[in-house]
Amino acid sequence: MIVGERKPLSEIREMLKGYKKVLVLGCRTCVAVCMAGGDKEVELLGSQLRIASKKDGDELEIVEDSVERQCDPEYIEPLKEKVEQCDAVLSMACGCGVQFMAERYVDTPVLPAINTNFIGVTESTGVWTERCAQCGNCVLHLTGGICPIARCSKSLLNGPCGGSHDGKCEIDPGVPCGWQLIYDRMAKLGLLEKLEEVIPPKDWTTSRDGGPRKIVREDVKV
């Protein structure tokens, strides 16, 4: 899923300066699972904003709502009336949701309430970690199911650098060395000889480096 984290209240307050009526809009998919922008978080942020504005003597009316996915036209279309009644939308979706709302509702400012961090997993309750860097050309079959692009701090494709120590990355003892993980997994699978091959330079055209990406599926297109 896409993992995000809510921005500090002070930053959100700064963004909302001058607006009188704001729609705080949650998203019930990824950011709800990672507890950053679902129904509960909308309710919490709504209350925090009401309390803060009352304390500071601002006039701020908060409208709360959430949709299934802000990245899908069918779910954001029905918001038309609500959006038109507000000065701004404070989206609690990932960066895609914020942008898709802004594309649909061109006359209303759409502001981000969360930072979109990475594509990751729930390691345990309250702990999310990155797994995929969306390079668009998966190499997991070569590296024991552990991604060297996302898990190695330097995205190395041919083994660990000289900074791997006791299974940890040189940048932070809290970060596992991606290549130690790959090595251990390949050893377990009896596939270590595969790591002896030199992986050639990666074609980054499928990654962000190739410009904004697009997929068109003629078989499902309407």
């Binding site: 701090s153 494709l157 083994g159 660990p160 000289g162 290549w179 090595y183 330079p201 980054w204």
Partner: protein, 310 residues
């Protein structure tokens, strides 16, 4: 001879090679580079010019290398994958070769987190192996990484950069089991010589060299053992606490702390180390990394009995 550099000649003729390290200044100060080059000239076979080491902005490796070359000392340009993509790297190497530089050491590079611009974006378009492979192809196959020939037009002559290519290897980083394999990969990718990470832990270095010799790699690549004179107990304590990828025995720290003249002890230690690694099968030279203490290198080389240079 692949590149015809002095370092290549010294090694190919079977001599025990000596290289040192010269850190460019954190400014455009030419004098500092000239001064360091004057100290090292005639005392080493070539000198490595670091590339923004520990991710701190310094005079470029190629620029400083040209200043060193003009002083009559042969440089080894270092290049890391952190700051440049394949386009910039190949372009820089065409320029470096055009300036008369003939040795290149391909490195991954320290993460920018450690330097003075931790908010920078890193590149890592290639890793150090792919970098080696790219320059080997430019030299031997006369093609760029994209496959195009190294010539200005169809009618123009091919002028490829002929570099003596090096890589580093760290026998002290983990997983230990992969370190000799990684060396093998670097040899297969095109390494002509290897300069190792600093050796303080001789038993582990011997264990790694045994594996390397077992694989027959010492016959395919020239291995230079990395050594360092320790200037003070504070330096070695700092390194143990802060520098990734080193194995520093506590006994060494105690030895430096107990010394009445730490600088003298540091020199004695490194001379002992050179004499010890020289005995190990497969070691073809030493790489003396006297970080910000270049002036001590001539003393070390002399006391290790490695003068005059061939």
């Amino acid at each position: 001879m692949k590149a015809g550099s002095n370092l290549e000649r010294v090694l190919t003729e079977g001599n025990f090679a000596v290289t040192a390290e010269l850190g460019p200044p954190k400014s455009a100060d030419v004098e500092t580079v000239h001064k360091k080059a004057d100290i090292l000239k005639g005392k080493v076979d070539a000198v490595n010019i670091t590339d923004n080491q520990t991710a701190i902005v310094r005079m470029s490796s190629i620029g400083a290398a040209k200043l060193v070359l003009d002083k009559g000392l042969e440089p080894v340009v270092q290049m890391v994958c952190r700051d440049r993509n394949r386009i910039a790297m190949q372009s820089d190497i065409l320029g470096a070769y055009a300036l008369g530089l003939k040795n290149l050491l391909c490195l991954t590079g320290d993460h920018q987190k450690f330097g003075n611009h931790p908010t920078a974006k890193n590149v890592f378009d290639l890793d150090s192996l792919q970098l080696l492979q790219m320059f080997k192809r430019m030299r031997d196959d006369k093609v760029f990484q994209c496959g195009e020939e190294v010539r200005n037009s169809k009618k123009a002559p091919i002028v490829e950069p002929r570099l003596f290519l090096g890589a580093a290897e760290n026998p002290f980083a983990h997983p230990y089991e992969f370190r000799a394999i990684r060396l093998k990969k670097k040899v297969n990718a095109g390494a002509d010589f290897i300069q190792t990470q600093l050796i303080f832990d001789v038993p582990r270095f011997k264990e790694w060299m045994k594996e390397v010799v077992g694989m027959g790699l010492h016959e395919k690549v020239f291995i230079l053992a990395g050594v360092m004179p320790i200037k003070s107990p504070r330096v070695i304590e700092y390194m143990k606490a802060n520098v990734a990828g080193l194995s520093i025995p506590d006994a060494l720290i105690q030895r430096m702390k107990g010394a009445s003249d730490p600088k003298e002890e540091g020199v004695t230690f490194v001379v002992e180390m050179i004499n010890e690694v020289r005995q190990i099968e497969g070691v073809r030279g030493v790489h003396i990394m006297a970080v910000e203490w270049e002036e001590i290198v001539p003393t070390i080389v002399e006391r290790a009995g490695l003068l005059p240079r061939p």
